[in-house]
Subunit: 277 residues, 4 copies
């Protein structure tokens, strides 16, 4: 009978994003707005999350929206100011590509490509990402079996790009009180049965600001390799997903408690990149 190694274990495949070893002995925090809305909004958020200890930035350039009339993202008009923000803060960006044709376009802006939940089964896109040199964060489809998620990752790794980070972001179930259902079973299952880093997106998984931090703590205690969290300086003004964005203050509070839990499980937060490089 097999018994779990009770210590959280690093992945055998470690993925370097912007100088941070995701899946290694330290824990990674990716934070930022749902959508990148303006230079000011993005810079304020980036500085704020960095001050609280975030390692990498998130932020949508092209958004996947259920309605064709909803805000679709700034697209390429934002490239210049995004680069400026990354330079100014010394942080790298993880951002979604929604179409294979965007990969080349955004190559210099993004340090890690994200595949969104609704594109996990978009095998054309995955094949294209398998030919890139930059890492890919593959979100689990909201109704994808763990097995399908792992096989989707193989579209990328078999294509020649081993640098895949799995991201659980909640699945669709019968429950409606929360936006999705965070599936931590899948996180611990994937950690045990694959060699890839696994991170958690508690923001989409629950969709309710006040509940996001508790689920980030749970992810850390369960042995995830990191979290990706939505933060907005003024969530009420956000162009998308404002209900689930933490304020900068919420984020700061969360990071302090997260740090204690991570210390308890001997999986500390990464030090600032200055010390890492």
């Amino acid at each position: 009978m097999e018994t779990q190694t009770m210590q959280t274990s690093p992945s055998t495949q470690i993925v370097n994003v912007g100088g941070y070893q995701i899946g290694g002995s330290q824990f990674t925090v990716i934070a930022g707005p749902c959508s990148i809305e303006s230079y000011d909004q993005f810079l304020e958020t980036a500085k704020g999350v960095k001050a609280s200890g975030a390692h990498l930035l998130r932020g949508g350039i092209w958004k996947m929206r259920t309605s064709s009339k909803a805000f679709q993202g700034l697209g390429n008009s934002s490239f210049d100011f995004i680069k400026a923000v990354c330079k100014e803060t010394g942080m790298s960006l993880v951002s979604e590509v929604t179409d294979a044709r965007q990969i080349e376009e955004v190559y210099d802006v993004v340090e890690c490509f994200q595949v969104g939940s609704r594109n996990m089964h978009n095998y054309s896109l995955l094949k294209e990402l398998g030919m890139q040199k930059k890492p890919v964060m593959l979100k689990r489809g909201f109704a994808a079996l763990i097995e399908e998620w792992v096989k989707a990752a193989e579209y990328i790794t078999n294509g020649g790009n081993p640098n895949v980070i799995l991201c659980e972001r909640g699945i669709r179930t019968f429950e409606t009180a929360t936006r999705n259902t965070l599936d931590l079973n899948a996180v611990v299952y994937a950690k045990k049965n694959t060699n890839l880093p696994v991170i958690v997106d508690p923001s989409h998984a629950v969709g309710i600001r006040a509940l996001v931090p508790s689920l980030a703590y749970a992810a850390a205690a369960a042995g995830a390799d990191g979290v990706i969290v939505e933060v907005h300086p003024r969530p009420a003004e956000a162009l998308s997903d404002g209900m689930q964005a933490l304020t900068l203050e919420d984020f700061s509070t969360m990071m302090k408690r997260l740090e204690k839990i991570l210390d308890a499980v001997e999986r500390p937060l990464h030090k600032e990149i200055a010390n890492v490089r």
Copy 2:
């Protein structure tokens, strides 16, 4: 905009079971076999889990089994030896009643009645439990909305019994790699929106021994008031649910790590009952 109090908060309704305040400032661990199989098996398990710090015993007397041909529990032939084990170890038993007619029968044996997942909607049973003096642990139906779970609890509390503990034990989703899907969203949601204690059953929620401890850690970090865990001295010989039972050694290892996490979130394990009474 409402922001979460980042500290784990006690329930306003605290439920006393066997001398332990469930939902108070300390964390409760309930452990034991899926089915009570014999005096020897139950005593060995009880002593073992107590030695590692468990507070209360679990163990099925009448089992809800999908097949009418599967082991249905020892029933009333086990009452005498169960009482002997409780006396010998100084521990109290949480156990399921599957029919209103069993309540009176088992009243002296059980300190807290459990309503199983498949009976959460059995309103006849709930009404009967509303008229009892002993506390009730109400497992969430495996396909019950959080709202239905809370309303099921009201069948008991409205009947005059305020001592209800909610227990999340995994929901049924499309995923098949794990037995159920642990819904920690529901735990943090119920903690925030009800005044009842909420505990987690990671054993049924994932159904795979090696993954149980990680989910117990997650529950603790997320702010649950306790866990209920299946433990068997020799899981391979268990008459039910052997795949998900921890060995006594697994349990001991889990408790050590759990304690560290609980200390980090300032929600320590209860001290032994000797110190409490």
Copy 3:
């Protein structure tokens, strides 16, 4: 490779309810209100549905309600007038028992016991019904696997009562536009893989009056052995489930179209009982 017999086939286990052979070469229609609310309401409904060709009556005496504050049914105060309505119309009643203790109480009032969806896993109740002489209509749990549904039926048949009718009434899925999701796959699967009659409850399955008839037609065309449909003279006044009840006029219109489809699949409606007995 196995190919389906394209003709709809009778069950090998035929269940007699009130003179009608359910699962035989003819199709059975059970109709009536969600709750039996009064003598007048029940009589008006019974006469109305009989005039349009219904064979058996449905109507709740004890209701399973999510909230303890919702109408719980008239209970035993209605027994006398129910018997009067059955006598006056020459129809028999299919009605739910929600607790083993009700079986004896209601024995003379009900011709076929119904187990509701939320009680499908109530094995105490199923065992008790296995010892009865009257037939049982077993609704599928709203989150029960087909296999669990069939095994629940075995609790009854193994107990000595072979007269079980399976009833599909919709399952719980992620979809929220309809009350449940009618699973006709399960109907054709159960028809093929069990020897029991299988009927369909389109009213609970979709929960929207205007869509009920189309799903009844679908059930008939797919090879179900019958349908059970909610009808209320004035749905807006119904004490439960008014949204999904057909008016008497709707029901009459539905029956005419249903008859044509049944003729096309060579599975005609039962003739009136007068001709059958």
Copy 4:
């Protein structure tokens, strides 16, 4: 209180594919193999289904496969022989595009573009199809809400292409005995609440050959505008989805019974295209 028009009603938006008015007063049958595997296989299937009364051909050129190692379709090497088969049989092809870049490539081969279930949320692809002159059959995502399905259709119609056919092909639920769960609720709901034609794919919805015809009958009786069915001359040899393909003989038997049901609901099969053009 609104009551359903009991007669099946045509869509207000009628979509012409290869001379057949989909969504009009007649019923459309699309049939063919899962994957187009060779000239011989495709020609034999096309001739066979035409002989039994099918109106349009289906057949995959690029396949969406969970595993990167599974057969991915013949791609552009098949274009010439596909055109030959269409010409020889006088039938038009409905086939999936899995990437916006394929639209132009396959434009002359395909009469109606199909968006597969796993691409329903691929808004880049939908926007591109909104700019085309040819019709689009939009399969419902296997975990998409009806509302999301309708909004996905609007990505196409708002882009300027009004010719969208909705196709329900089964959703993912907890049930595992069947491949998916056919959601006829969604079909009748979409028929009532949109102006688009709605067809049903019983093959993917159930995944078991022997059960496919019964579900096609159900779709017809419920008021769907057509069905799309997988047929293979020798299913055991199929490179994909052989378990659910009908043989030519099965298909022929199904069509005869389907015709009777359609006559009963006054929604006859289209006449052969020779009579239509």
